[in-house]
């Protein structure tokens, strides 16, 4: 399989570069013993709400959806959420931890001269502090948000944003996500896709399987060869 024609790599942010469950520790501090359950339900509802609002044509930005999902998860788990706790949890979402394998992989890829970008469900106001807090500004050249399209992944128009803004055809763009459904959505659109299967999960049956399935971002630089210019 030829891998030599990739001009850019586009990364998902939440769950791929940034560990959404790094908030579990704070959740557990606020409600001892319930942190993992809250973090899991919060994330599940957050994604569900992005899909449902997209289908209902009721887009609201990702910070709103993230807050709504937190409210739901706390109510469902009978965890009392006051304004102070809500503020702390949503603030933590702007400073999510980078996965341990992310910085090294991005640095190696950057050194190989391939263009690096982020394409995320996050609104620009959420992504900016996240990328800054992790110190990724020098590694990632372009940060794209679904916000201008007013619909969430895996709608094709979102992936098309990368084609337009990077001025490169879909076939020359590699898309990297740890979210299996996002990797399928990107493959369905036409990108060469790399699914970082951190949890050793089955491939989602969505009619478009990822091209590459790897366990860690560490494996990515070895799979990518850039065109000789």
């Amino acid at each position: 399989m030829s891998r030599s024609n990739l001009k850019a790599l586009v990364f998902d942010a939440y769950g791929t570069l940034f560990d959404v469950h790094s908030v579990a520790e704070l959740c557990d501090e606020l409600w001892p013993g319930r942190g993992a359950a809250l973090s899991q339900l919060w994330r599940a509802k957050q994604l569900e709400y992005t899909w449902l609002r997209s289908l209902m044509r009721r887009y609201a930005d990702f910070s709103r959806v993230t807050g709504d999902a937190l409210d739901y998860a706390c109510a469902a788990l009978a965890l009392p959420l006051d304004d102070a706790r809500r503020w702390r949890l949503l603030s933590a979402y702007r400073e999510l931890a980078l996965f341990p394998d992310a910085r090294g992989a991005l640095a190696a890829l950057k050194a190989s001269k391939i263009r690096l970008a982020i394409l995320s469900n996050g609104s620009p106001a959420m992504l900016r502090p996240l990328v800054e807090h992790a110190g990724l500004g020098g590694l990632i050249g372009t940060v794209l948000s679904v916000h201008s399209r007013k619909i969430y992944k895996p709608a094709p128009t979102v992936y098309r944003l990368a084609v337009e803004r990077l001025r490169a055809p879909a076939r020359s763009i590699g898309f990297v996500s740890s979210n299996g459904w996002d990797a399928c959505g990107a493959k369905s659109f036409g990108f060469r896709t790399f699914w970082i299967n951190r949890a050793d999960a089955p491939v989602d049956a969505l009619g478009a399987a990822p091209d590459h399935v790897i366990r860690s971002l560490d494996e990515l630089p070895g799979l990518i060869r850039v065109p000789v210019s």
Copy 2:
């Protein structure tokens, strides 16, 4: 609040009239002790796939999606699924149990002369045996499937199907679902909505809350008054 102008009531099928978790018993017979976990994940993935395929514009009919979700759930839970077990489980999905409160409520509503319909994600080939097996043919006048729209709930075009086929404006149609997100989607479209909150769950935060929240279909006939003709 005036409730006197409803001309028709449209019911969701899976989870509202029919208990999707009535397959849990068979699941448990096939994999002792794992039935509830399999049934929960199977249903969660089934819904997730309807939303994702709709957004990806890769519609596949509900029997395909239901089979795909079963495959995923068994793989994720490390439950070996052979052809015979798969066939038994998917056959059981065509004979799901009616909820105990469904028949009485439908009969009372039918006696009050309001028109009754089903609007379901199920394909016609799945819905026909389901309605027949439960003996609902004499109670439900119209069975509508998303299949002709090639997209799933909560896309507005699906709810519009009921307006077109029942030849009644959205404001004179009541929509009944036990799926909170479906009740929100129907409300967002413009129906008067009744959420049968069987599990005492929080209302989903999707920008369109159901008009009525009740615990059982038993409460529905008392809420409905039909126009005097």
